[in-house]
């Protein structure tokens, strides 16, 4: 018994560019004739024909792809938009067929390329659970057995017989997620579906998936969120230009991906032009500007001083209740700090067009380092834009700890006002005339005492 769950060999997928518009009926008939006679097949099997006209009309979304995934592995697939992630998942889910090569899958596959596939607004929650479950491959008996769990997970018991068109979009996503979370295949293929839904529910789903993964199931997980890839997956595959560029542990691959992204960002692709971003695109972050206490644009900020981070956005349509978010990550790829309108209860509406959202930071309690800024625009129902390496923030030291010492990168990114005392010694010394008698002060000079 081999323990390979998925084996991909020389996989390639070619798409036709633009609309398949036969210019003349004759062409269309000829094309159909060729298809019917099976000549189209030979053409494709003969391999990539690199004629000039050929390459103008077609694009290889995936090419020469080879990898193997072992049973029970939880594998993250990362890469920029257009790297071939979605095409790969579509082929493995059998939604579309490859042009070349083959893939062998050992085990029952459940795939989740979208949340709530087949949900119909006119049908009740209950009816949609059954329909959606069946579409995802569950039998009616399976669904009936898990129905109560699904409804409880979605926290929608009271509304289960209401048509889903009366649901808020949060409720809608919760129900859709709940069905998906109760899929029970041996191999689970998940596209970036966690980008929607409210955050607390997202967390619940991640938890559920984590549980599923521990149950020995093989999971293939595409995400733009390096955080969830790192926390969910053991290993990862980095795709670039339709090929496998790197495989390894999730930490290694994510680290390398971040490094390459940072490099690319440094090479000056302007934020507005970057395509390695998630979200619906209703609004996009086009620039991130760091400003000091007096609102002067700056590259660095001093610890413990006020600063501002401006998110310049371009709204492609009027958007309501935008909650902006900023994430500051250490060079090691760890999240140091998340600033989010949802935490503070701020949400803004914007007409279509350009604008600026400003985050004021009262005191930046981060140790001196270079932090990369990830930016987020979204509302309760989903993300408009998610982009990593949207900017950089260099924190320089002040006299915060007057010793001039700061934590190193193994000691956490935070700095915090604190001092030390020695109460057990103090209680005996106090009667005899005070803390100055405590010798420990010599070892740990207190900032306040020195000021």
């Amino acid at each position: 018994m081999n323990d390979v769950a998925i084996k991909v060999e020389n996989l390639g997928k070619r798409y036709q560019l633009g609309q398949r518009n036969a210019t003349t009926l004759r062409e269309a008939v000829g094309h159909l004739g060729r298809r019917l006679l099976g000549r189209g097949r030979n053409e494709a099997a003969a391999g990539p024909v690199a004629g000039e006209e050929e390459s103008r009309k077609h694009i290889w979304a995936i090419r020469d792809m080879n990898f193997e995934i072992r049973r029970g592995d939880v594998v993250g697939i990362i890469g920029r938009n257009g790297a071939g992630k979605s095409t790969l998942l579509k082929i493995l889910s059998q939604v579309t067929v490859p042009t070349l090569g083959r893939a062998v899958i050992h085990g029952r596959v459940g795939s989740l390329l979208e949340v709530g596939t087949g949900f119909h607004p006119e049908l009740s929650g209950r009816e949609n659970v059954f329909l959606n479950g069946a579409i995802l491959g569950m039998s009616r008996a399976d669904i009936r057995r898990r129905f109560d769990d699904i409804v409880a997970f979605a926290e929608l018991a009271r509304f289960i017989d209401t048509p889903v068109k009366r649901y808020s979009s949060g409720m809608y996503t919760r129900l859709a997620f709940a069905v998906a979370a109760h899929l029970d295949p041996e191999i689970l293929i998940i596209d970036e579906v966690l980008a929607v839904g409210d955050l607390s529910f997202q967390k619940k789903c991640l938890g559920k998936m984590d549980q599923v993964a521990r149950g020995g199931r093989t999971i293939l997980f595409v995400s733009h969120s390096m955080q969830s890839v790192q926390s969910l997956c053991q290993s990862a595959i980095l795709l670039e230009g339709g090929r496998v560029s790197l495989t390894g542990t999730a930490t290694e691959v994510v680290g390398e991906y971040r490094r390459r992204t940072a490099e690319r960002a440094a090479q000056g692709a302007s934020l507005a032009e970057r395509t390695d971003r998630g979200g619906t695109g209703a609004a996009r972050v086009v620039d991130v500007v760091v400003r000091d206490a007096d609102l002067r644009a700056t590259q660095w900020v001093t610890t413990d001083e006020p600063c501002h981070i401006d998110l310049h956005y371009q709204a492609n349509e009027p958007v309501e209740n935008i909650q902006p978010g900023l994430g500051l990550d250490t060079p090691g790829g760890l999240r140091a700090l998340t600033l989010f309108g949802d935490f503070t209860g701020h949400a803004f509406s914007a007409p279509a067009g350009q604008g600026v959202l400003r985050c004021r930071i009262e005191r930046l309690n981060l140790r001196p380092d270079r932090y990369s800024i990830s930016a987020f625009l979204g509302n309760r129902h989903g993300a408009f834009d998610v982009i990593e390496y949207a900017g950089e923030l260099e924190v320089t030291d002040s006299s915060y700890y007057s010793t001039g010492h700061y934590p190193d990168d193994s000691q956490g990114p935070m700095i915090q006002r604190h001092d030390w005392s020695h109460p057990s010694a103090d209680s005996t010394l106090e009667g005899r005339g005070g803390q100055s008698a405590d010798t420990s002060i010599n070892h740990l000079p207190m900032e306040r005492q020195q000021q």
Binding site: S93, V97, R102, A103, V104, L131
Partner: protein, 286 residues
């Protein structure tokens, strides 16, 4: 190209092995796969039936209002004013017995032709045999048909028309009507995924076929030497057979039905092959 590999894994259950290749071949026609997906057919069909009359005041009544009003208009226009013969049955019953199978065909055809495009959000996200879509879309037409059939029974009771033993052949004609609709639906739905021209072609063809089908008139108006050619329209045979099954005075359909049945079989088989051949590309081109 899916098969159950009889390897035994540690838990003793067979491991399903899926081999994904550039071409699925005619896999969609595998009956096993269709059988496993039968629950989905039922759910898709019941979804379509449930939403058909949602948020309407008259609801399912529309399924009988349409044929009744059509029958009244045809009776006045063709029965009274034009005085078309009705093979010895009261004209209203004669024409209603024609409208019924015709509408079953016409609505099944239009639903199934549109089934791929209407469900593209499904099959571009999840794999299931695409053939389920045109098949499940026949069910809605059947529900409407069943309701209208009740009206015909009431109408026959009112006029005191009793069917003969020929009524036992009714399922054959229904099957033939559905097979005709599915055959054309397979071709049109696959083509529709590629060329939306089909949306405009189908109503047009349906309208032309209507005049070539003995709904308002009797096929006895067609001269014998043209009868067989006339039978190339499969619905000609179906409507003739349907009338004969229900109305005692209707003449037994002859060779015309054999021609119709052959056309249906050929169209259905080629339709299935064409659909299966095109299936690989649906998700990419729709």
């Amino acid at each position: 190209m899916s098969e159950i590999d009889r390897q035994i894994n540690p838990t003793g259950a067979p491991v399903e092995v899926t081999i994904i290749l550039p071409h699925r071949g005619y896999r969609t026609l595998a009956l096993g796969m269709m059988w496993r997906a039968r629950e989905l057919v039922v759910l898709l069909a019941s979804r379509d039936v449930k939403i058909r009359y949602k948020q309407t005041i008259l609801g399912g009544l529309w399924a009988i209002i349409h044929p009744i009003v059509t029958m009244i208009v045809f009776t006045i226009l063709f029965g009274r004013m034009a005085g078309l013969p009705s093979d010895g049955s009261p004209y209203p019953i004669f024409v209603f017995a024609g409208i019924l199978p015709w509408q079953l065909f016409a609505s099944a055809l239009s639903q199934s032709s549109n089934s791929l495009v209407a469900n593209q959000n499904l099959f571009t996200k999840v794999y299931f045999p695409r053939l389920l879509l045109p098949i499940s879309s026949l069910v809605v037409a059947m529900v409407d048909f069943a309701l209208a059939l009740l009206v015909l029974i009431a109408l026959m009771a009112w006029y005191g028309v009793m069917p003969t033993w020929a009524v036992l052949t009714l399922p054959i004609w229904l099957l033939l009507a559905l097979a005709s609709a599915l055959a054309a639906g397979l071709w049109f739905s696959a083509l529709n995924a590629l060329y939306r021209d089909v949306v405009h072609v189908v109503p047009f063809i349906t309208q032309l076929l209507f005049f070539l089908t003995p709904v308002v008139y009797s096929s006895s108006l067609v001269s014998d030497k043209w009868k067989l050619v006339y039978g190339l329209n499969p619905m000609a045979g179906v409507v003739e057979g349907f009338r004969w099954a229900l109305l005692p005075s209707a003449p037994a359909p002859g060779a015309l039905v054999a021609v119709s049945a052959c056309v249906v079989v050929v169209a259905l088989v080629t339709g299935l092959l064409f659909f299966a051949r095109m299936e690989d590309t649906f998700a990419d081109v729709v």
